[in-house]
Amino acid sequence: MNTAHEESARRFEVDARGLSCPQPVLETRKALTGRAAGEGTILVDTVTSRENVSRFARNQGWNVSWEESADGGFRVLLSK
């Protein structure tokens, strides 16, 4: 039970699709604040947001990769 709870606490997801600059980064920042480690997904819908979120997360020491999602947007994958 405990392990499943910890596992869900490790995982996070932010839906930043459709938001103007710099809100996708601010939403990401909010999700990362106080989180020493974990695995998360940030959903964005423009290449600019993908780059901005990726750059911010990398600067915070997170590993960043991304994949295209079915709706034409991107899933930015963060891990630490």
């Binding site: 839906d15 699709r17 459709g18 938001l19 103007s20 600059c21 710099p22 809100q23 980064v25 601010l26 920042r29 819908d45 423009t46 290449v47 600019t48 780059e51 750059r55 911010f56 600067n59 709706d71 034409g72």
Partner: protein, 367 residues
């Protein structure tokens, strides 16, 4: 080509885009544009507004190809690199009025952020109060962003909707080339529908093809690098991320060096081209513009670029600027070289009240 694009997408991208835009902006003055106004998104949108008859200030009417070029350059680049994503629906009416008041503020100062930096690069020290005001406006906007300000999410649009602003840019070019004239009145003055200044800043322009080519090139560079004169300070203050700021620095330094080489650097406060020396209203005009741009997510150049990428909300912001320019001259709100008009300060105050109200009220998350 691929390595150039890689460079534009890197942290050095805004520096490259800003540097090239700075050189070209200074050159455009040599080639015929008004002083320290190689590229000014606010002034040129105002000139287009006048050329379309939305205001009748006879000295500021011309269909500026640079504006059409910025939109079309971004459009071409977005199509080529698969970044054309039609979208809209994030508080369009609020954005319209943000564009409207941003233009009012910019025309009290007499320039958008791009021109504020170009004025500085030409030795116009009255720009310093404007840039300080711009920073203050961005600072207030940042405060609202920290408190959760949001205009809400946009949604995906059909491709057809995304073509509208690029088509409007094409229409401007067609009207410029065709220059339709429906006749003259008894004094021999053209009755429109398109008006062209015969004297004043509106009559000063580079060759059409040159202006368009510069607009296209800068539009492409700015689309790839995300160059933004408001995002530059916002990201620096808010996120300690200076990569857009270095782009603005490159823009100023490149324009300064080019002005120096061409003998266009004339330092001083007095007698600067299309500028006035009322520091208070230079400051407050740009405070309003900076706040409105920050709440809308980017500087006027960036709004043009986004509208070329298919962002309908940015297109609405641009239309707000176009209409705001009409009002700014019809209601005598815009400044002149003599200083602010008697009505400009009231309009700036109303604009600040609107932006502050938007900042306080538009906080709810709309997911």
């Amino acid at each position: 080509m691929r390595s150039l694009d890689k460079l534009l997408l890197s942290r050095l991208g805004p520096v490259l885009a800003g540097g090239v835009a700075g050189v070209l902006a200074a050159l455009l003055v040599t080639w015929g544009n008004p002083g320290n106004m190689g590229i000014c998104v606010a002034c040129f949108t105002r000139d287009i507004s006048g050329a379309l008859g939305l205001h009748r200030a006879a000295v500021v009417q011309y269909l500026r190809p640079e504006i059409a070029g910025l939109v079309l350059g971004a459009f071409g680049s977005a199509l080529l690199f698969r970044e054309f994503r039609p979208r809209s629906g994030s508080s369009p009416l609020v954005r319209f009025f943000l564009g409207f008041f941003a233009m009012v503020g910019a025309l009290v100062f007499l320039g958008c952020p791009w021109r504020a930096y170009l004025r500085l690069a030409g030795g116009d020290w009255t720009a310093i109060a404007g840039i300080a005001g711009l920073s203050a406006g961005i600072g207030i906007g940042i405060g609202f962003l920290w408190k959760g300000f949001s205009l809400g999410k946009n949604s995906k649009n059909l491709h057809a909707a995304g073509y509208l602003m690029p088509l409007a840019a094409v229409a401007i070019m067609v009207l410029l080339v065709m220059a339709p004239l429906f006749g003259r009145d008894a004094q021999g003055t053209p009755v429109g529908p398109i008006f062209f200044s015969e004297k004043g800043p509106g009559s000063q322009h580079a060759l059409l093809a040159v202006s368009l080519a510069v607009g296209l090139a800068v539009g492409w560079l700015a689309q790839r690098s995300r160059f933004c004169t408001v995002g530059a300070l916002r990201d620096l203050f808010m996120l300690r991320d200076g990569h857009l700021f270095f782009g603005v620095l490159a823009f100023v330094l490149a324009a300064f060096a080019t002005n120096l080489a061409l003998g266009q650097f004339k330092p001083g406060f007095e007698g600067q081209p299309v500028a006035h020396t009322n520091h208070l209203w230079n400051f407050l005009g740009m405070t309003l513009a900076g706040l409105a741009f920050t709440l809308a997510g980017g500087c006027p150049g960036r709004q043009l670029i986004l509208s070329g990428e298919g962002d309908g909300d940015a297109g609405v912001f641009v239309l707000g600027m176009l209409v705001g320019a009409g009002f700014a001259h019809n209601f005598s709100l815009a400044s002149s070289a003599a200083g602010p008009s008697p009505y400009g300060p009231t309009a700036v105050t109303i604009g600040l009240v609107f932006c502050l109200a938007a900042g306080f009220l538009m906080r709810e998350r709309l997911d």
